[in-house]
Symmetry: C2
Subunit: 344 residues, 2 copies
DNA sequence: TTCTGGCACTCGTGTGTTCAGAGTGCCAAG
DNA sequence: CTTGGCACTCTGAACACACGAGTGCCAGAA
């Protein structure tokens, strides 16, 4: 293991931690003297200066110009997040407030809307919440209703509360008994299953019907499969864009590409898509694939109605953000949304 | 009519027009000399200065500081829009592009999404499009389907393509014949009617059924009326927020309240609600009821599938905007969306 | 070996001054 | 009513300058 990466002793790490904390607080480059004053490191500024030099050598911090204080680099934040910081749990009153705020929701749309606003308010950053997606959720019920001799309406109800409907044009007249039979068989197999698994489970269904009815059955199933596969419904809700104004001093330059990114659902979806399935994901600065977000950090996490995550949510803020606090808020909100979804 | 408002002669109006045009173009206060050079007014700078003094006296223009050029006031823009400017029609290629872009839409959501993006792009400002609202649109068809002995699904299809569905729990078993009868009668009366008018037209319906069926009929109708009345579905779509960065030099101050306003659907709805039913509405600066938008102008207009407007759309930009061009774009887009809706 | 105090050096920021240019208002003459 | 001339005002850019924060390095102490 002895190699490229020189070992950083504990004090250097403490110095880095202190730099990150101070910089996040003040938004100004932090110098050795101020550091010693605000954190009791038990050593002199000169010593800290030596450590800083080492940290800079390793690329964890950086000087805007000679005779200025130090600023953490992306790499520095990364180390901070991985090794030096702990997720800050929400206080009891905060938890109560979250719970209370989300409890008032009346339907899925409302849950998502409340969640995104809450998250933006808690973190004072831009919040992003993905709607519980089709591909992850499960079937609660599938309904078939004859509207006209050759027209059937297909209604797909998911465990997340989402409802999708399609009109099916059948090749011939559909008998009510056949329809009832089909409805029963579909639900028996599909109910409770995850959406992507459903087509496989229904594959052999047409064979169970009389030859005359098979075209109809196949048509209905084809529409159902289409509906299941349609992922373009992966919507995303945004809030807190006004918080962008607190991003940085060098304004329009930072904010413009971010606003552009936020308008592109595709970008946001991809962004959340990169979130690990388990645990929280933090992408810092240039770690973000999308260029416009190179000066921002994204904290995201999956949430779900059970133990499984059905969608993602997160916040986007300046790399100089309060990581422990943000992560705490994101985690707490995700947890509570999960509970709300499970209850309903 | 001789009174408070002193008459402005033609040349003064020409000067005002020139000032607005130049200021919109350059974003810098415009002085007498530059004015004479760029527009051939046929008089000397000194004369223009006199006119400017008069215009300032009347409150149409204003000087940031002594020895600076003049800037139009809200009142100046107002006069410009009302009397001095003509809506600039789109060029043929532009019209083709609009048409082409909107023609690709596959459903109502897509139409709205495309419209808002198009509008943002054409005007390089923030675009807002309201979904065709329930209260203005008309009924295309109402469908009733028995799902279970005492459960009926109510489907409301509107001329805008929007579909709403509700599950109705009936007080007793519902006979298929009664349901068919009810369906027929409802559609005979309601089809083609505006949503708010429908309840009045169906009032006497229960009386036409046998006493035993009346509770069911009433329940179904009650649900239908609820659905019709529900206006919270008045959604709004936004695009072009990145254009906010081009708003002004004094950045965060202007942009923050605007971003806050844009997040509030309620504010936007009220904003569009103030649009006159016929013709285009232009609200300049402080004419906007919402405080955060006091330094912006809103150009909005109704659009609809027929001759009647079913919803509004518009753009939000700095008071210093190209009014003729913006109004042209807004009008053209509204017109084409109307056509698209009428066709589908 | 590691820490510390001292010291010289760098450089950004804030302040004050100057200067040119743009623009005005006013006035007297056309 | 228009015009040219003129004195005046004010902003913004350019420059000089001093201050102070912060650094790096070195020699001596622990």
């Amino acid at each position: 293991m002895a190699g490229e990466v020189r070992q950083l002793d504990d004090r250097k790490l403490a110095v880095l931690r202190a730099i990150v904390q101070d910089y996040v607080g003040t938004e100004e480059p932090v110098g050795s003297k101020a550091l010693v004053e605000r954190h009791n490191l038990g050593v002199s500024p000169a010593t800290v200066r030596n450590d800083m030099a080492a940290l800079e050598e390793e690329g964890y911090i950086h000087q805007p110009h000679t005779s200025a204080g130090r600023i953490p680099t992306d790499k520095g934040y990364r180390l901070f997040v991985d090794k030096l910081a702990e997720v800050k749990p929400m206080s009891a009153p905060e938890r109560r407030a979250i719970r209370h705020f989300l409890d008032g929701a009346v339907d899925l749309d409302d849950v998502v809307a409340r969640t995104v606003r809450l998250l933006a308010q808690l973190t004072r950053q831009v919040a992003v919440v993905q709607y519980p997606s089709l591909s992850r959720s499960t079937v609660r019920h599938i309904e078939l209703v004859a509207l006209a001799p050759a027209k059937v309406m297909l209604v797909l109800i998911m465990n997340t509360g989402r409802v999708e409907q399609r009109l099916v044009d059948c090749p011939g007249t559909v008998g009510e008994t056949v329809l009832a039979d089909l409805r029963g068989r579909i639900n028996a197999r599909a109910a409770g299953q995850r959406l992507p698994d459903v087509p496989g489970l229904l594959e052999e269904l047409p064979a169970q019907f009389e030859a005359a009815d098979r075209p109809t059955v196949s048509t209905v199933l084809a529409t159902l499969f289409e509906t299941l596969a349609e992922q373009r419904e992966e919507r995303i809700m945004l809030a807190g864009t006004a918080n962008l104004t607190r991003f940085g001093h060098d304004f329009p330059l930072t904010i413009q590409p971010v606003l552009e990114a936020l308008e592109e659902q595709v970008v946001l979806l991809r962004l959340l898509g990169e979130t690990a399935d388990a645990g929280m994901t933090v992408r810092i600065g240039r770690e973000n694939a999308y260029e416009g977000l190179n000066s921002t950090s994204v904290v995201s996490v999956g949430y779900g109605s059970g133990d499984e995550s059905v969608a993602k949510l997160g916040v986007i803020g300046p790399t100089r953000m309060d990581y422990p606090g943000t992560m705490g808020a994101v985690r707490a909100v995700a947890r509570y949304v999960g509970q709300i979804l499970a209850e309903s």
